[in-house]
């Protein structure tokens, strides 16, 4: 009987105090959302690789389709990566004094706008050269994957624009900035992967 009651002993616990929090709610929700997004892009990328691997003789781009502007897009890629680094500095500045983050956030925003704008110009040029979403699976995947990323970039710009506005009003909290930044970093870090896979 003694051993049995010992088996039923449960640990004595100190009086509980507060709710356990791993991360700020917003950051955690955004991280979960980003994981789902990563899986969506993984789906697009694997579809792209599978279809590409089945093209006879690895003709990629297929005959008669224009090559993608690798060099011009490298500039865009660099701009987007720089915007991510600038946002890291914005974060550090925000921790010292909120208003110091205004300028770096604005720079990041402008770099993001430059990225979306020049990608848009690139699309117009490629459409003129005969690469459309229907012309081949090559074109289809290009517009699908780059377009999906572009929509995310626009969403990220809107979110960071909102954060910037709130910052000027003096209402932005640290966890709000962190939540928006998580999405921005996702857009920034995803792009080099897509660049490697779609353009090269």
């Amino acid at each position: 009987m003694a051993t049995e009651s010992a088996a039923h002993e449960i640990e004595q616990r100190p009086e509980p105090v507060s709710r356990p929090k791993i991360l700020a709610d917003g950051v955690m929700g955004m991280l979960l959302f980003v994981f789902a997004e990563i899986m969506m892009f993984a789906g697009l990328i694997s579809a792209h690789r599978i279809v590409r691997s089945q093209v006879a003789g690895e003709m990629w781009p297929p005959y008669g389709q224009p090559r993608l502007p690798v060099q011009e897009t490298a500039v865009n890629t660099a701009a987007l990566l720089v915007s991510g680094i600038v946002l890291v500095f914005a974060h550090l500045a925000f921790k010292k004094e909120a208003s110091r983050a205004r300028l770096p956030i604005l720079i990041a925003l402008l770099l993001g706008l430059f990225f979306v704008g020049s990608q848009g110009a690139e699309w117009v040029a490629l459409l003129g050269e005969g690469l459309t979403i229907q012309s081949s699976t090559y074109g289809g995947f290009f517009y699908l994957i780059v377009g999906a990323h572009g929509l995310h970039a626009i969403a990220a710009i809107l979110a960071l624009g909102w954060a910037s506005f709130e910052l000027y009003k003096g209402r932005l909290t640290g966890s709000q900035l962190a939540t928006v930044s998580v999405f921005w970093y996702f857009v920034v870090l995803l792009w080099p992967v897509l660049y490697l896979i779609v353009y090269l």
């Binding site: 049995e4 009651s5 039923h8 449960i10 004595q12 616990r13 009086e15 509980p16 105090v17 507060s18 709710r19 356990p20 929090k21 791993i22 991360l23 709610d25 955690m28 929700g29 979960l32 959302f33 994981f35 789902a36 997004e37 990563i38 899986m39 969506m40 892009f41 993984a42 789906g43 697009l44 694997s46 579809a47 599978i50 279809v51 089945q54 093209v55 297929p62 979403i133 229907q134 081949s136 699976t137 090559y138 289809g140 995947f141 699908l144 999906a148």
Partner: protein, 571 residues
């Protein structure tokens, strides 16, 4: 989680009662997790009636081909395809998911972890609104020109990709949009569930003090969030193929139709576990409560579930054994598929070990929980034959497959739901349900259920293929012995559907005239039973938010007088 004083809370409560959105709007525009749970529950129940009616119509067509079905009329081949497709889609996406995950997840997670609401209440409301629109879209798709989509719930291209093949260009696109909106709704809901469980638990509630059903719903949400991405990618590609004329799935344009099957089943197979885990969690909680015994192996169960979740991402290609997959690859997927029965069997044994030596009370929820184990077992065991790539060559696309997954999905979506509904009804609505009517409904559902699907196993082994409108057109399937089995299944379905009236009668009668429910009618330990039935807005007064001192399954301890020990009772 604002810690307000009691006065402030009562003041806010008053404001909410008197100055918030009034009347119907209060229920349509609320951010309260309990109201959203009810919205999901009633929408899901309505869709279940729609899906059940569809099953009735096409089963009548199969048993009595060509005759006019009462309440529907003569079924045309196109209508038959549309009914079969939408029955599957509705039952999985608009019944099993909203009821098991969204309704019970929304209701139970904040209450069981001692929180006042979800961490993102407005996202929660948005989730239901998107879901509601998706339900309207799928219902609307049935009435557009050409009828609802008829390309099966798996929507394989090329049939689903081109209007010239499926003859329902509008229905197919609306179906796809409806499913996509439904995914968005559950993505939002899933983020909420996971964040709430991680961040809003009552003081003192450690990882191993979380009730199993909360863990299961959250693990299911994680699986959903990780698996749905590739399907969304695939669905966008299919939508472009349908509407923009791209050729992602069209071999003539350099695409690959089997690609869709992989993207679909990469989601589709974890999806089975997404709906199964909440049902298992419900069963576990009910079994422990009604066996008055501590859950056998809490941690074992949790780790097993995580293992199931991980494995479930590596089994999808068993759906492609005869779609032209490399046989070496088929072997790999056969092994993983057979492996996943190990953790599931483990869950079963843990539940049975919990029952062993308990003082079992056979109340209605317990009957449903036990039936879940028994019936799901048949579903699991028959899955072994389909997972073996050799046997699957014969069984693929026969009624054996159909009977197999109905033996998994029916226990999950219907038995699991009734278990949960009868168990938590007192907490949800503050009234007791009639146990006697509940038992009549139970036996009236379980017995006919087996009479529906056991004949279909036999038919499947006899070689009867799925998705055939009229078996009289196939001489080797049109025999009288086969037809007799089809009629048995259909008659059993009619009996089962008739017994659902008992449930609806019991449900409405209990709501109106049921006995008032006490706080804790089942003498259970978990936190939701420590508040009023039904819980007020905010669940507990803020100065009485519960604290947790122990795990959720301390039943029948020999060192205590009462046979239960609520989680919030100080030591």
């Amino acid at each position: 989680m604002v810690e307000a004083t009691a006065e402030v809370w009562h003041a806010q409560h008053e404001v909410h009662e008197h100055h918030g959105p009034q009347g119907v709007l209060k229920y349509l525009w609320s951010t309260d997790h309990k109201v959203i749970s009810m919205q999901y529950l009633f929408t899901g129940m309505f869709m279940a009636v729609v899906g059940g009616f569809m099953a009735y119509v096409f089963r009548m067509q199969l048993a009595f081909p060509g005759s006019s079905v009462p309440g529907f009329g003569i079924v045309s081949p196109g209508e038959y395809n549309s009914l079969v497709t939408n029955h599957g889609s509705i039952m999985i996406f608009w019944v099993a998911m909203p009821v098991l995950i969204a309704a019970f997840g929304n209701f139970l997670i904040p209450l069981m972890i001692g929180a006042d609401d979800m961490v993102f209440p407005r996202i929660n409301r948005l989730s239901f609104q998107v879901f509601f629109i998706s339900a309207l879209v799928i219902l609307g798709s049935l009435f557009v020109e050409g009828g609802g989509f008829g390309g099966a719930w798996t929507a394989y291209p090329p049939l689903s990709a081109k209007g010239v093949y499926n003859q329902t260009p509008l229905g197919a696109t609306l179906w796809l949009i409806g499913v996509a909106l439904e995914f968005v709704a559950f993505l939002l809901g899933g983020i909420n569930f996971i964040t709430t469980l991680m961040n809003a638990r009552a003081p003192g509630m450690k990882a191993y003090d979380i009730p199993m059903v909360c863990w299961m719903i959250v693990i299911a949400s994680i699986l959903f969030m990780l698996s749905v991405g590739p399907l969304i990618a695939g669905a966008v590609m299919l939508l472009f193929d349908q509407t923009l004329g791209t050729g992602f799935y069209d071999p003539a344009m350099g695409g690959d139709p089997v690609l869709w099957q992989h993207l679909f089943w990469f989601f589709g197979h974890p999806e089975v576990y997404v709906v199964m885990l909440p049902a298992i969690g419900i069963t576990i909680d009910i079994v422990a409560t009604f066996a008055r015994k501590k859950l056998f192996g809490y941690k074992l169960m949790l780790y097993t579930t995580v293992a199931t979740g991980v494995l479930s991402f590596f089994v999808w290609a068993h759906h492609q054994f005869i779609s032209g997959i490399d046989p070496r690859m088929a072997n790999v997927f056969m092994v993983t598929t057979l492996l996943i029965s190990v953790p599931i069997a483990e869950l079963m044994f843990v539940i049975i070990a919990t029952l062993y030596g308990g003082s079992i009370r056979l109340a209605t929820p317990m009957l449903w929980a036990l039936a879940f184990i028994a019936e799901f077992l048949i579903g699991g065991v028959t899955g072994i034959f389909l997972g073996a790539s050799g046997a699957d060559i014969y069984f693929h696309d026969t009624y054996f497959v159909l009977a197999h997954f109905h033996y998994t999905f029916f226990p999950i979506a219907i038995i699991g739901t009734f278990a949960a509904l009868t168990y938590w009804f007192p907490k949800m609505f503050g009234k007791m349900m009639s146990d006697k009517l509940g038992k009549i409904h139970f036996w009236g559902t379980i017995i006919p259920f087996n009479f529906i699907f056991i004949p279909l196993f036999v038919l499947g082994m006899g070689g009867q293929h799925r998705r055939i409108y009229n078996y009289q057109h196939f001489p080797d399937l049109a025999g009288a012995d086969f037809q007799r089995l089809r009629i048995i299944a259909t008659v059993a379905l009619l009996v089962m559907l008739a017994f659902q009236l008992v449930f609806f009668y019991n449900f409405i009668r209990s709501l109106l005239r049921g006995e008032k429910a006490p706080k804790n009618p089942w003498n259970a330990n978990t936190l939701e039973w420590t508040t009023e039935s039904p819980p007020p807005h905010g669940n507990w007064p803020p100065d009485q938010m519960p604290k947790v001192y122990r795990g959720p399954y301390e039943y029948g301890r020999p060192d205590r007088e009462s046979d239960f020990w609520p989680q919030d009772e100080p030591a």
